[in-house]
């Protein structure tokens, strides 16, 4: 759509998603720009999270899930047979709705990913921990208690730790699935600031219920809804400024002005 093709990090091309016989998403086509924040918005149950989970193939975990059409990462199909899902997920990190810090120390939470890719040296791991935690502005808070269980942190700090954990494996893309919805306003603000800082280096896609959040942080907005067949569709995709000031689609306008959803 309005993104110059060479600038696209991810492209959805006539992508359909089925859960068994259930058609969840229909004919989604859009380009997600590099090093920018794209927000996916829309009413509950329209398939926002499902769409997000197509980008790192998390839908593979659901028995019966099937994708038609294609999604390209750096111009390469991620649904082709030869695709290595593990290396895809290394490049496309994900932060979930509820902080899912593992029941282990802060240090181990960060290093668990890099260790799997063969990084074993203590110094190198220490460096990754410091870098990742600094990126999420937590280093000064926790540098003296890296051995502490991650689960003892506050919810907001846990979510930032999850972001740091995702950053530790050096992804290109970060998917954030309503990552602030379980947090208080202050923690939400911190995460939003973080997203803005990270756009310089990463392509970020967020799913959010919070219109204000989409407006505050995103460069592009994708509005999804359920069509008359009860299938999720991408109704409008445009720069956030445009969508919120001058939505092209009547349904988008109704939604963002709070008339439904």
């Amino acid at each position: 759509m309005s993104v110059p093709s060479q600038n696209a990090k991810l492209k959805a091309k006539s992508a359909h998603l089925y859960y068994g016989a259930y058609h969840a998403l229909k004919d989604v086509t859009f380009d997600i720009p590099k090093r920018a924040i794209t927000a996916i918005i829309g009413p509950s149950g329209c398939g926002k999270s499902s769409l997000l989970r197509m980008f790192n193939r998390m839908n593979d975990l659901i028995p019966g899930a099937r994708v038609e059409g294609d999604i390209l990462l750096n111009g390469e199909s991620i649904y082709q047979k030869s695709m290595d899902v593990v290396s895809l997920r290394k490049k496309v990190g994900m932060v979930f709705q509820k902080p899912n810090v593992f029941p282990m120390s802060i240090y181990d939470n960060i290093t668990i990913g890099p260790k799997r890719y063969g990084i074993k040296g203590r110094a190198e791991l220490d460096e990754i921990v410091e870098r990742s935690l600094s990126q999420v502005t937590m280093w000064n808070e926790v540098k003296d208690e890296l051995k502490k269980p991650g689960l003892l942190l506050s919810a907001g700090a846990q979510q930032r730790l999850c972001i740091a954990r995702a950053l530790a494996v050096e992804p290109d893309v970060i998917l954030m699935d309503e990552s602030c919805s379980a947090l208080d306003p202050e923690s939400t603000m911190k995460i939003e600031e973080l997203m803005l800082e990270l756009t310089g280096k990463y392509t970020i896609i967020i799913v959010t219920h919070n219109m204000e959040q989409a407006r505050r942080v995103s460069d592009m907005s994708a509005f999804m809804m359920i069509d008359h067949d009860k299938v999720g569709i991408l109704a409008e995709y445009s720069p956030t400024v445009e969508m919120f000031s001058n939505p092209k689609d009547q349904r988008t306008e109704d939604y963002i002005t709070g008339r439904f959803g």
Binding site: N56, R89, K90, M94, K98, N100, F102, G113, R116, A166
Partner: protein, 281 residues
């Protein structure tokens, strides 16, 4: 206002609940009253570390039986725990629903087989096999370990599986989303997270193995000597009671109750340990 009937039914339920606890209290008091005087006479150290069990000569040392119980239990753990944990991982993580629905009741059934049947099967199948192919009398630590390993499987499998399945789905998703393989996810995230439940499963399995009597009597040989190899026969604490209670009287009978006290303490410690570990989280 509570009616008289509600109050009454409350009391009746409490009475019934108390009866199960009081059974425990009664048994505890009984075995202590019966066994403690003998331990006092012989001396705690001489009783527990005494090497000779010869009731007719008034010698009551249960150390060979303690070694016997420990060795068959250790054997059962070495053989049974890895199998049980792998089975639990398979059921929780890999098995298709159909297979899982077949496996679960089958494992429950394993717990339902009477122990005398296990013992009988061991006696006519395992014992000759060991005698013919590995040597020794066949009635041995190894035979008992094999039987006990099978008998602790249901405990180990079901408790481990439940503790794996109780983990939030988000752990697994988070690990996979980091680009970890399914196996890495299991080894580095799921198993460590389920650790306390799995350890509890092992401890309860140990408790079951130490307490088992009938099946062990039939395959373990019951010799009251310190074993030098896993092919040697031994006598366990439980089988000591099981074998001799029929004809014991007086001091001898007290000594069997005293054996029961030791067993009782071991099981209590194991159960409390399991409780403590699962609650700690």
């Amino acid at each position: 206002m509570k009616t008289f009937r509600e109050n009454l039914s409350g009391y009746i339920f409490m009475l019934l609940a108390l009866s199960s606890i009081s059974a425990l209290a009664l048994i505890t008091v009984f075995i202590i009253v019966q066994g403690a005087p003998l331990i006092a006479d012989v001396g705690v150290i001489d009783f527990i570390f005494g090497m000779t069990w010869a009731p007719s000569q008034g010698e009551y040392g249960i150390f060979p039986m303690i070694i016997g119980s420990l060795s068959v239990t250790l054997g059962a753990v070495i053989l049974g725990v890895p199998v049980g944990i792998c089975c639990a991982i398979f059921l929780a993580e890999f098995a298709p629903v159909k297979l899982r629905n077949l496996f679960r009741p089958a494992i429950q059934l394993l717990a339902g087989i009477p122990s005398v049947v296990y013992g009988f099967w061991g006696l006519i199948f395992i014992v000759p096999f060991i005698r013919d192919y590995l040597g020794g009398p066949g009635l041995s630590i190894l035979a008992a370990s094999v039987i006990l390993a099978i008998m602790i499987l249901p405990t180990v499998i079901s408790i481990s599986e439940v503790s794996i399945l109780a983990l939030p789905r988000q752990y697994k998703e988070g690990a996979l989303a980091l680009g970890m393989t399914h196996w890495q996810t299991i080894f580095y995230v799921i198993l460590p997270a389920a650790k306390s439940g799995i350890v509890a499963a092992i401890i309860l399995g140990i408790g079951r193995a130490i307490g088992e009597t009938m099946a062990v009597i039939m395959v373990v040989g019951n010799a009251t000597a310190i074993p030098t190899s896993i092919l040697d026969p031994v006598r366990t604490l439980t089988t000591n009671i099981g074998i001799e209670m029929g004809y014991a009287s007086g001091e001898h009978r007290q000594a069997l109750f005293a054996t029961g006290i030791v067993l009782f303490i071991i099981i209590m410690v194991l159960n409390s340990l399991a409780q403590y570990i699962t609650r700690k989280k």
